[in-house]
């Protein structure tokens, strides 16, 4: 090995703490990139192949004259297949539990040409078994339904027993969403059974199908065709129509996947940027310290290119050492993540592939990052004038007092170590700037993930504690008179019951927006409404809509929109906007809507408040016993489910937080230890003139901590902005993720940085304690 290579490796070994920090950062950045990017790829190919294999509908149209719509659509070029089917939300009873499930009609014997299912156990439907059904996997898992087990479904003629002939997963229900307004369901309250079409019609009480599903040629996206068909669907009186992208399950998955993709780019970028900056700082300092050696090399006839290559090596080595295992670890992690994810959901096809490109890209990113980071210092090394390089550099600022001392002269009476610290900060702008940068980066890394966690926790809290006030929801088998709801309040264990009517509506104001209209009592105590200006009550006139709708329909308070439901349209003013994290609904008061429509409106569900100390099981039993009750949903159970859906997010962001924390530690540690290592000569000189080691330690610590303090407000600001950026990428009309960082998070992360900075002093100061002045002073080679 050549001496220069020896020098490279030994320099790295000498500064192993800093290099390890950088290598770990690169490793983490690359791991994260490979893991999230491969997971993203695995998931999207899994979905894609699920969609083509099971002929997932490009367009779904429900309500109105679907048969007429299907006839016209069948003639359109680009349409490969159309199926007509019956879908109905009906009460089901499994064991003692009632839920508001859904039956989806399928042709017996053969799979449909659109929206096929994957039979996971048992057999597909058979005409020999008119009451044999396929249970969707989420429901089957929850209720432990296996081929042969039976349960009941409520039809117009009463409860009807059906038998599970098999369990199935479907591209429509990978994510078990009821509709776009109810993306999050609990298996206690939502389950899907695929039943023979005749049974579906019988249960729905119709003689004609109510849904048309369209598959485009090759299943390919065709926006023009979709738009044409959507217009035709609207003309045929469709109440609900959506493209594949808008399909509830797929929309939820896309959100999720989009999140993955964002994270797959955002976090690794953040980490690699941090790694690059840490490398840059470290190598700049190294080059600075080695100026005399560079002078010797150049004076002896080393070419500038040789010097450049040598210092680029300080980037290549940690880059490779971090990126190679990082890419491998990431690819392996992606397998685990994909498996975990697809098993949490019911993805019919799970494709875990090896993507060599990810591996190559991961290594390339790591390597490029670290090489880019050292290009500037390596170039400056190669461009040094040899004569001057050997002379060394003059500190900035000369011998004057520091700026703070000049601004506030009383500072000049500080004890010497503090004054020296103040001056040191100014005389070494390079060291100061680099340290501040380290603190800023560290805080950014920590705050981005912590901010995301805070935001989600806060969002859950807002939705389930601040906004939703009910203890449980009772769903009725059909519309009931609102007066009947009051009866529920008489049941033991129930303090209050309020009627609610929820119906799909279309809001039109130029653009169309399909959503759900929720009708509450005018003085409801079950739901609180928060607008821009804080809490408000339900308006006595007009409707409240989610903020996102305002943007989508380009409407403002006071504007009048057309509200279409059940074929009738009325004009209603927008009374205001509400800011709710989940879902984008429209709200209206019962008295206003009754007055506006001239009808007495029924209720489709009731919101319940328990009496103090009531027994949940007996309340549930008393309620589901009633004929009119289709399902009962405990608010806490829903909250738990939501938390369970969030687990992937929590795990991911939690891991990011740990990674970020580790990197923050690495950054601060390397900044601090270089700060101390750089001063070995200075310290040796101070020791030589008789300064106490303790005093030197105190002076260095004071200087470092002061610089860290300067960095903290900057870092908090930068972290806040970065977190806002990260969160904003998740917003859509379905979810509103406004960044919320708890003040305590800011305080704790700031303090944590200070503590880490303080702890990071220790190894360096210990080295000072052991410093052999004689050796340093003798080593004029430094």
């Amino acid at each position: 090995m050549s001496p220069l290579r020896h020098k490279l490796l030994r320099d790295i070994r000498t500064q192993r703490a800093q290099f390890t920090a950088v290598i770990v950062t690169i490793f983490l950045g690359v791991t994260m990139f490979a893991a999230s990017y491969d997971s993203y790829q695995n998931l999207s190919t899994s979905y894609e192949s699920t969609f083509t294999e099971f002929r997932f509908a490009n367009l779904t149209v429900a309500g109105g004259d679907v048969t007429g719509f299907a006839d016209t659509a069948a003639g359109r070029s680009g349409v490969e297949s159309i199926e007509l089917r019956t879908v109905a939300d009906v009460p089901m009873q499994v064991g003692g539990l009632k839920l508001l499930g859904r039956v989806v009609g399928l042709p017996a014997e053969t799979q449909p040409s659109v929206n096929q299912v994957r039979v996971a156990s048992g057999r597909y439907l058979s005409s020999a078994q008119p009451t044999g059904v396929l249970v969707e996997e989420h429901m089957a898992d929850h209720f432990e339904l296996t081929p042969g087990s039976s349960f009941e479904i409520l039809g117009p003629s009463g409860w009807q027993t059906v038998t599970t002939s098999g369990t199935a997963s479907s591209p429509e229900y990978i994510w078990p969403a009821r509709d776009r307004q109810e993306l999050l369901t609990t298996p206690d309250n939502f389950g899907v059974a695929f039943v023979p079409e005749p049974l579906a019609r019988q249960l729905a009480g119709t003689s004609t199908p109510n849904e048309a599903i369209v598959y485009f040629s090759g299943g390919a996206d065709n926006e023009a065709l979709a738009n044409l068909l959507l217009t035709e669907a609207a003309d045929s009186g469709a109440t609900v129509s959506f493209t594949r992208d808008e399909q509830p399950s797929n929309a939820a998955l896309s959100e999720d996947l989009k999140g993955f993709e964002e994270l797959a780019v955002f976090f690794p970028m953040l980490f690699l940027t941090a790694a690059a900056l840490a490398t840059y700082v470290m190598i700049s300092r190294l080059v600075h310290a080695q100026q005399p050696h560079i002078g010797v090399l150049l004076a002896n006839g080393f070419t500038r290119r040789q010097v450049l290559a040598h210092y680029l090596g300080y980037g290549v080595v940690p880059g490779l050492v971090g990126a190679l295992p990082g890419a491998v670890a990431g690819v392996l992690m992606a397998r685990i993540i994909t498996g975990f994810y697809t098993s949490m959901l019911s993805v019919p096809v799970t494709l875990v592939q090896f993507y060599p490109a990810t591996l190559v890209a991961g290594v390339a990113f790591g390597l490029i990052t670290s090489v880019l980071a050292v290009i500037a210092p390596a170039r400056s090394a190669s461009r040094l004038a040899p004569a001057e390089a050997m002379r060394g550099t003059v500190p900035a600022g000369g011998g004057r007092p520091s700026i703070p001392e000049r601004i506030a002269p009383p500072l000049r009476r500080l004890p010497i170590p503090w004054r020296m610290a103040l001056r040191g900060i100014e005389r070494n702008p390079r060291r100061t700037v680099f340290t501040v940068l380290g603190v800023v980066l560290s805080l950014t890394l920590v705050l981005v993930s912590w901010g995301m966690l805070d935001t989600i926790v806060n969002l859950m809290d807002r939705q389930f504690v601040e906004i939703q006030q009910e203890d449980a929801t009772v769903y009725f088998t059909g519309p009931v008179e609102s007066g009947d709801v009051a009866d529920l309040g008489q049941l033991p264990g129930i303090a209050e019951a309020e009627p609610v009517l929820q119906a799909p509506v279309v809001l039109t104001s130029g653009e169309r927006y399909e959503t759900a209209l929720v009708v509450y009592e005018t003085d409801t105590t079950m739901h609180r409404f928060f607008g821009e200006d804080g809490e408000r009550s339900l308006p006595t006139e007009g409707i409240l809509v989610g903020q996102a709708v305002g943007g989508l329909l380009d409407i403002a308070e006071g504007d009048v929109v057309a509200l279409t439901a059940a074929g009738a349209t009325i004009e209603v003013p927008i009374a205001g906007f509400v800011n709710e994290p989940l879902g984008t609904m429209a709200y209206v008061s019962r008295s206003y809507l009754e007055q506006a429509t001239g009808f007495d409106l029924p209720a489709t569900s009731a919101l319940i408040r328990y009496t103090e100390g009531s027994d949940l099981a007996s309340v549930r039993a008393a309620l589901v016993e009633r004929e009119s009750v289709a399902a009962f949903e405990d608010a806490n159970a829903l909250y738990d489910t939501v938390q369970r859906y969030m687990i992937l997010f929590y795990v991911f962001v939690g891991v990011m937080l740990v990674f970020g924390g580790a990197m923050a530690f690495a950054l601060i540690f390397s900044a601090m230890s270089v700060n101390i290592a750089e001063r070995t000569r200075e310290v040796a000189t101070l020791l030589a003139v008789g300064t106490e080691r303790r005093q030197i330690s105190r002076m260095i610590t004071a200087e470092n901590m002061m610089v860290a303090l300067v960095g903290i407000p900057l870092g908090l600001g930068a972290g806040y902005l970065a977190a806002k950026q990260a969160m904003a990428s998740f917003n859509s009309d379905l979810f509103a993720f406004d960044l919320y960082i708890r003040p305590s998070t800011l305080v704790i992360s700031g303090l944590a940085i200070l503590v880490v900075a303080l702890l990071s002093q220790w190894p360096g100061l210990r080295a000072i304690g052991r410093l052999e002045i004689a050796k340093i002073v003798k080593e004029r080679s430094l």
Partner: protein
């Protein structure tokens, strides 16, 4: 002529704050001469050496070293010149602390030969460090470090050896040892040696003494009968 300077000026800075480190130097130094350059601090000694070594540029004038005209030389040619024609010994030894004695020398030897490690050991033996080959700089005494630095300068067998205060950091005994070594190499291998010092006594061992003051040559004298380094006293 090993080195030939014609009206060489070196000016740092511009306008009123300009410093004329060298102000019109004329000198010819024949091959094989052992020249001592004397002068008080700030007189331009290091500057002169740096110019001759090609690590700094003249402001005006002509400078020819080993038949190579340094003024107007391109970067690559200048690097090649440094590589092939000169060896430097610095006042601060500037050894690389993470390389052993052998490696410090080999580093430079490799510039002119395929595998410099044998050459490195050979020159280290020449300077009497055969038993310190694998020591790191911090494990060597000041004199030993300076001898490594000399070995490093000699490794390429340069025709011109430039020594800037090679004994400035050393005690009297060690200083004499180093000077004796340099003189011996000069005699045995015919190298042209330019040695900078502010210690006038050292001039007595040289073939020639050049004295600088404020960037000008104030004395240029041949020593008829130089004494041995071991006989020097200061």
């Amino acid at each position: 002529m090993a080195v030939s300077l014609t009206n060489v000026w070196k000016t740092y800075g511009e306008g009123p704050t300009a410093v004329h480190a060298l102000a019109g130097i004329d000198a010819d130094i024949p091959s094989g001469d052992f020249t001592v350059i004397l002068g008080p601090s700030g007189s331009g000694k290091t500057t002169l050496l740096n110019l001759i070594g090609g690590i700094d540029d003249v402001t005006s004038g002509d400078l020819v070293v080993e038949d190579e005209k340094l003024t107007g030389l391109g970067t690559d040619e200048r690097t090649a010149f440094r590589r092939n024609q000169v060896g430097f010994v610095f006042q601060f030894f500037n050894l690389i602390p993470t390389l052993t004695a052998t490696e410090n020398v080999e580093l430079v030897a490799n510039l002119t030969m395929h595998d410099g490690s044998e050459r490195a050991i050979e020159v280290l033996k020449q300077v009497g460090l055969g038993d310190r080959l694998d020591h790191f700089p911090a494990m060597l005494s000041g004199g030993e470090q300076q001898r490594v630095a000399i070995a490093r300068a000699l490794a390429k067998s340069p025709p011109v050896l430039l020594c800037d205060e090679p004994t400035g950091e050393l005690d009297f005994e060690t200083g004499r040892l180093i000077l004796g070594l340099l003189r011996r190499l000069n005699r045995e291998q015919g190298q042209t040696v330019l040695l900078v010092t502010h210690n006038a006594a050292i001039g007595e061992m040289a073939d020639r003494v050049v004295r600088l003051r404020s960037g000008e040559i104030v004395e240029d004298r041949r020593i008829a009968d130089p004494i041995e380094a071991g006989e020097l006293i200061w």
